[in-house]
Amino acid sequence: MSVLELNGVSKVYGDGPAEVRALHEVSLTVDEGELVAVMGPSGSGKSTLLTIAGTLEAPSAGEVVIAGAAVTGMSRNDRARLRRRSIGYVFQNFNLLAGLTAAENVALPLELDGVPAKVAREAGVQALEELGLRERSGSFPDELSGGERQRVAIARAVVGDRRLLLADEPSGALDSANGEAVMRLIRTACRRGVAGVVVTHDAQLASWADRVVFLRDGRVVDQTAPAAGPESLIAPGR
């Protein structure tokens, strides 16, 4: 069942001579449990795709459907609710609110949705524990290392009943070991049924996805076929 559907989405910034076409009739479907990577050079429209998928921006044309609901025509409040209930975000930077502890950061979307503080906090601590961060649940973001911060961000992105996980260069500022750990966590989340979209220019990161979509000048130009089984590589003689 598809969680995210983009149908013919275009995005134009500015007008007249300053017009910039960031996306041009992009269509993309991400199913439950599927992890899709969007790859492309800088300026190819990757981040715009992600913000539109995350309802942070409205497309100039085309249709966005998330978990069966058409985003076009939703009120700002409805979109905010959709975000805190169904969509988890992991950004390259500025992931956490500085004034809240790790657990509170994780619990924030639940609290914003009306879950009592105590219950939400317990859920937050539990989510952190699953990511091996239980002992850091009381720490403030500036007391955490970069990798830990990103893991807290993932915990926040998947806490509750999230359907869609969106990540923008999630391991951008991290070393490869930490980056791999982050991708493993995203992978695990997808295995549990979350639909994931990772935007990156890094092939190693993209290779964690079930499917890699190539974006160029705002258009989808290609995508990899769903991967074959893991044994295909091990051939005698290599």
């Binding site: 092939a203 190693q204 290779s207 890699v212 130009v221 290609d222 990899t224 295909s232 005698p236």
Partner: protein
Amino acid sequence: MSVRYALLALLSEGPKYGHQLRQEFEARTGEVWPLNVGQVYTTLQRLERGGLVESDGDEEGPQKGFRITEDGEAALAAWLHTPPDLSSPPRDELVIKILIAVQVRDVDVHEVLQTHRRYLVQLMQEWTRLKEHAGDRDLGFALAVDAELFRLDAVVRWLDAADGRIKRARLDRLEPADGHLPKSPRKALVRP
């Protein structure tokens, strides 16, 4: 060549039997590097002839025991510290194909590039999947997969760079023809 030193490395841990050597070699380098039985024994014989290992009997076969000599340890250490020869570029088929594609008319280089990129990324996806399934249990395997991934990644990055470079070269070649000269060429020149 490196099978030789891999066997020496295994023997540096202590005396081992031939069949044991073969199993451990396979285990440590992972399934990435499968060997046949004969290769192990021929290499061992060669090592013995060179005086880098000693055997404990004349009996040929898997039950024969081997131990490393002092010369062998010295040779192993020397090899580990000697960087491989990377100074002369290997003849890369992909590079040649792209170089030719640029020359050929009616061929969209970007499409060629993308085809190769897709292929490479697909390969990488498969390796990543292997790594994911293996988890952190098998260090040697993970290292070997990483090596492969980084190699493929390097090629993808080269493709990305080539993509950009070709695009810029095309634009540069087009611009004068279209008459889009910079309005003030002198000013443009003065800029560092």
